[in-house]
């Protein structure tokens, strides 16, 4: 090795032209200068970038803002303590909001959305491995959330989220769900109210009990509907309440895509990627997530039942995949799948009774079961519900948010339609739905306000509470 000590000392590097050597007696740094001077510089900047914004930036509550209920606050604390924010951000950015796309980010977060003292600590987040959750309320029912928390791949096989089954107790998971379902302000509460109301309608109509709470669904049998308590009204199509959740434009629509092997195979691929968590690897509705859900997922294996029965055409399937089925755990896939892929899944579903879901089986066009509308449906459409009466076709836009929400969850009802559910006594109409949704919404809002007041939280003037919700992102 070179002996560094015997090397000739550097004379100092040559100075660039125009430079002068630094005068040694000037700007010497002593420990005092480094310590106190450094602190002075630090506090100067801290005054500008910390003290000033914190003491001058105090936006009032936005019109959409709501406080959290006690249960939701507990859920929020669990959300923070367990690090959920490392993958889920807590605000939607201007570039996230895409009009006419489905559901995920219906609005940009406003400063006033973060009003109040129940949103401390901040949960803005820095990374999005999963989706933003600031607008999540009401897109999924509670039973979907339970299955998803237990193991996210039960409902979304593509998900990378860690299973939460070992992290939370049954009580804690209900707190988390309350937080997620009520965190998005008034517009989120409105969606959640629609979700709760349609859950009531769907379970009543099909004779299902309420879903299991907590993580019990993982250890209990799949729930079954009770036909005995059902007493469908005479002179009413049995499928009418279900059809009321599908836009009439799709009721009689056929497949726009040809039944080819390519289309069917792609349909099978998408089905295996997205649908098997609930509908099962055999398409029998007995996927791992099924036991959490009420009503339980559809069974496609029977040629004359859910798959290919005479009342539910390809268009209905398309609409349910596109927009979801509020009240059931069926999600909307409108943003995640292309229009063509959704139709291909629809084509494929109608081959499932011919065992096309088996391993190494390529679905063939001969497996496809062609749909024929039943006589009852055709007759019903002639006498009772005309396709042209679709609420969405009305020239005058509805402005009442509760009616808008009722139309979102029951797009197939016309303003004049008055039916009974299949239990023979519960009424079903847009007016009933709007009133029911409004009552649930008001109850959720009142409870949150009262509990926030008891907690001693900072609240906006009472008038803010009375301002009706808006429906961002409605088509």
């Amino acid at each position: 090795m070179d002996d560094e000590r015997t090397q000739t000392q550097h004379d100092g590097p040559k100075l660039p032209r125009g430079w002068a050597p630094h005068p040694p007696e000037r700007m010497l740094i002593t420990p005092l200068v480094a310590g106190l001077g450094g602190l002075l510089a630090f506090f100067t900047v801290v005054f500008i970038v910390v003290w000033l914004p914190i003491h001058t930036f105090d936006p009032p509550a936005s019109l959409d803002w709501t406080p959290l209920s006690d249960q939701a606050v507990k859920g929020r604390n669990l959300f923070a303590q367990n690090g959920c924010y490392v993958c889920h951000s807590g605000y939607s950015r201007p570039q996230d909001v895409r009009e006419s796309l489905y559901f995920l980010y219906p609005k940009v977060s406003q400063p006033g959305d973060f009003f109040g003292s129940d949103q401390s600590p901040n949960l803005l987040g820095t990374e999005r491995t999963g989706p933003d959750l600031s607008q999540e309320s009401g897109w999924h029912p509670d039973d979907w959330q339970r299955a998803h928390f237990y193991d996210p791949r039960f409902v979304d096989p593509l998900s990378l989220m860690p299973p939460m089954k070992s992290l939370f107790s049954d009580t804690q998971i209900e707190q988390l769900i309350t937080y997620v379902e009520t965190r998005s302000g008034k517009s989120g509460l409105l969606r959640y109210a629609g979700q709760l109301y349609s859950k009531h309608v769907v379970t009543t109509n099909q004779g299902f009990p309420q879903p299991y709470t907590g993580f019990q669904g993982a250890h209990k049998p799949i729930l079954e509907g009770n036909d005995k308590i059902l007493n469908p009204p005479k002179n009413q199509l049995e499928e009418a309440p279900n059809l009321s959740q599908i836009d009439r434009g799709y009721w009689l629509s056929g497949d726009p895509l040809p039944v080819t092997e390519e289309n069917l195979l792609r349909g099978k691929e998408v089905f295996l990627q997205r649908c098997v968590g609930c509908h099962g690897i055999a398409g029998d509705g007995k996927g791992p997530g099924a036991a959490f859900m009420s009503p339980s997922p559809a069974d496609f294996t029977s040629a004359d039942d859910a798959c290919c029965g005479g009342d539910t055409g390809p268009g209905d399937f398309y609409y349910r995949i596109l927009r979801g089925w509020p009240g059931t755990a069926m999600e909307n896939f409108g943003e995640r799948l292309s229009v063509d892929d959704i139709w291909r899944v629809v084509l494929f579903i109608k081959t499932i009774p011919n065992h096309t879901l088996r391993k190494n089986v390529v679905p063939e066009p001969k497996d496809y079961i062609v749909w024929q509308p039943s006589k009852e449906l055709v007759a019903w459409l002639k006498t009772q519900q005309k396709l042209t009466d679709n609420a969405g076709f009305a020239k005058k836009q509805v402005t009442d948010p509760f009616m808008q929400e009722a139309m979102r969850v029951f797009p197939g009802l016309a303003p004049g339609d008055k039916f009974l559910l299949n239990d023979g006594k519960t009424p079903l109409s847009l007016d009933d739905a709007a009133a029911g949704i409004k009552a649930i919404y008001q109850d959720l809002l009142d409870r949150a306000w009262n509990e926030a007041r008891t907690r001693g939280d900072k609240l906006p003037p009472e008038a803010q509470k009375a301002i009706p919700p808006t429906v961002p992102g409605q088509q």
């Binding site: 420990p31 950015r93 400063p111 973060f114 820095t126 990374e127 998900s159």
Partner: protein
């Protein structure tokens, strides 16, 4: 210029360890505090690396540790981040500080080596308790400020004890003008103590054992404070210490006086004024005041002034010394870290402008950027500094140069690959999201990147383990004696002693 300034060569009181079989000369410095902090740091490096490897595995197979709550991604991730900053880098930095400070100011050791040793043990205990809290769901839920309130207080007490130790040592100095590194050694711990106390809102303990605790009442105020604080962990502690240590290592190893005193003034005051206000660039897309975002953007770019001053200063010092980059391993680590440090600042400036921020915000591009700083710059520097200090403190060459070479190439190649795949993954996410593709649809496309990241990450873990082996063998075996015997054997084989 150089000869009139406090000279690095004069200020540093000890020759580099000989690599020949010259008899070991015991170091005149006790270095007990330095040894405790450094050896703890080496241990924690592998622990936090393994946390990272668990995360990388969960990105590939999310069910991998599904049954174990404390290995859940959401709990390991804060532990990984806190561990890298507070356990590995902070312990390494204090170890280096306790080693370098006495040599720079002409004292024999710290004011109290015993206090330094106590602090090292307490710090280990503090981190252990904090991380057990995080893994069992006791967290404040504020990014980079997750430790619960009692841990925050314990941390600050130890930190203040270290500051007292440093200031008392400086007051005993025999070399009056203090060298650049010492400016940072004095200022940086003080900055961080204040930053940590304000950033963790320690005057609002709240529920103490978990959220809500240590946060401002208003959510957006809390967010602005949170990111101001989080970025200053880098700006006022990790980066100044990197600069201080580089200012020590390069002149010391090359035996060359520092290129320019003026430039080091710019780099010191530039840091103090410009780094403190950049934090808000983390939330440029959030509904917070625009003027604060503007300050953050401008500061992020102005930050290039002290960065370039530092860069020129180091390159000027290295002029004519580049052969040592290839022969001297600690210097190679230091300059590799210096190169990545330069890159991370350029990258950071671009990330802080709105149009580019819109694209890469929330994606893996940011994760890559964070690793460029914490892994590429700070960790690689730390590895080199530890190799250097261990050889000096134990007054013997490292056990094996081959192992050190392996350590260097594993971490450098591992990190470069890691950084590249995450940057690509970030672009994949950013462009896909901009087209309106939702997050979950992008996940399958990221799978290959995540697999590659896991493999590169494993190389980094192995690099840390190689260092543990190398340092351990250096301490527990006498390299001098082994080399002497080898040399004698060779000599005898070549020229057998003439028998009488």
């Amino acid at each position: 210029m150089a000869e009139r300034t406090p000279e690095a060569g004069n200020a540093i009181g000890e020759a580099p360890a000989p690599l020949t079989e010259r008899a070991a000369r015991p170091s005149p410095f006790p270095d007990r505090a330095a040894r405790h902090w450094i050896l703890s740091a080496i241990f924690w490096l592998t622990v936090v690396d393994l946390f990272g490897l668990v995360l990388a595995t969960e990105f590939v197979t999310p069910e991998a540790f599904g049954g174990i709550s404390w290995l859940s991604f959401s709990r390991i991730r804060p532990s990984h981040v806190s561990g890298v900053i507070l356990a590995w880098l902070t312990m390494m930095y204090f170890g280096a500080l306790f080693y370098m400070l006495p040599r720079l100011i002409g004292t024999r050791g710290m004011w109290s080596e015993r206090l330094g040793v106590w602090c090292a043990w307490l710090w280990n205990l503090m981190f252990l308790l904090g991380v057990i809290g995080l893994l069992t769901g006791h967290s404040q839920g504020r990014e980079y400020g997750e430790f619960i309130w009692p841990i925050d207080i314990l941390l600050l007490v130890i930190w203040l004890a270290n500051i007292v130790n440093i200031l008392a040592t400086v007051s005993l100095r025999t070399i009056r003008p203090i060298y650049v590194s010492v400016w940072f050694f004095i200022a940086s711990p003080i900055w961080l103590a204040v930053d940590y106390a304000i950033g963790n809102v320690i005057w609002r303990p709240g529920s103490i054992w978990g959220a809500p605790s240590g946060a401002l009442e208003g959510s957006l105020s809390d967010a602005m404070l949170n990111w101001w604080y989080a970025h200053n962990l880098f700006g006022l502690w990790l980066t100044p210490m990197l600069i201080a240590i580089t200012y020590y290592m390069v002149p010391r190893v090359t035996n060359t006086p520092l290129y320019s005193y003026t430039l080091s003034l710019i780099s010191f005051w530039g840091m103090a004024f410009l780094y403190t206000g950049v934090g808000d660039h983390h939330i440029l897309q959030s509904p917070t005041p625009s003027w604060l975002k503007t300050i953050a953007e401008v500061s992020s770019w102005a930050l290039l002034i002290p960065v370039f001053a530092f860069t020129i200063n180091i390159l000027g010092t290295m002029k004519g010394n580049w052969e040592k980059f290839f022969t001297n391993l600690p210097l190679r680590f230091t300059l590799t870290a210096f190169f990545f440090y330069f890159l991370v600042n350029i990258q950071g400036a671009f990330e802080a402008i709105q149009p580019f921020n819109k694209l890469q915000h929330f994606t893996n591009f940011v994760v890559a950027h964070a690793h460029l700083a914490l892994l590429g710059a700070f960790t690689i520097l730390g590895m080199g500094v530890i190799d250097y200090i261990v050889a000096q403190v134990y007054a013997r060459p490292l056990f094996s140069r081959t192992l050190t070479e392996w350590q260097y190439w594993l971490v450098t190649v591992g990190f470069t690959g890691f950084f590249s795949v995450l940057t690509l993954a970030g672009f994949q996410q950013g462009f896909s999201w901009a087209e309106g593709i939702p997050e979950v649809n992008v996940l399958p496309q990221l799978h290959a990147y995540y697999v590659a990241r896991g493999i590169f990450g494993a190389m980094i873990v192995v690099s840390g383990i190689v260092q543990i082996v190398n340092v351990g063998m250096t301490i527990f075996t006498n390299t001098h004696e082994r080399r002497r015997q080898e040399t004698l054997r060779v000599a005898e084989a070549v020229a057998p002693p003439v028998s009488g």
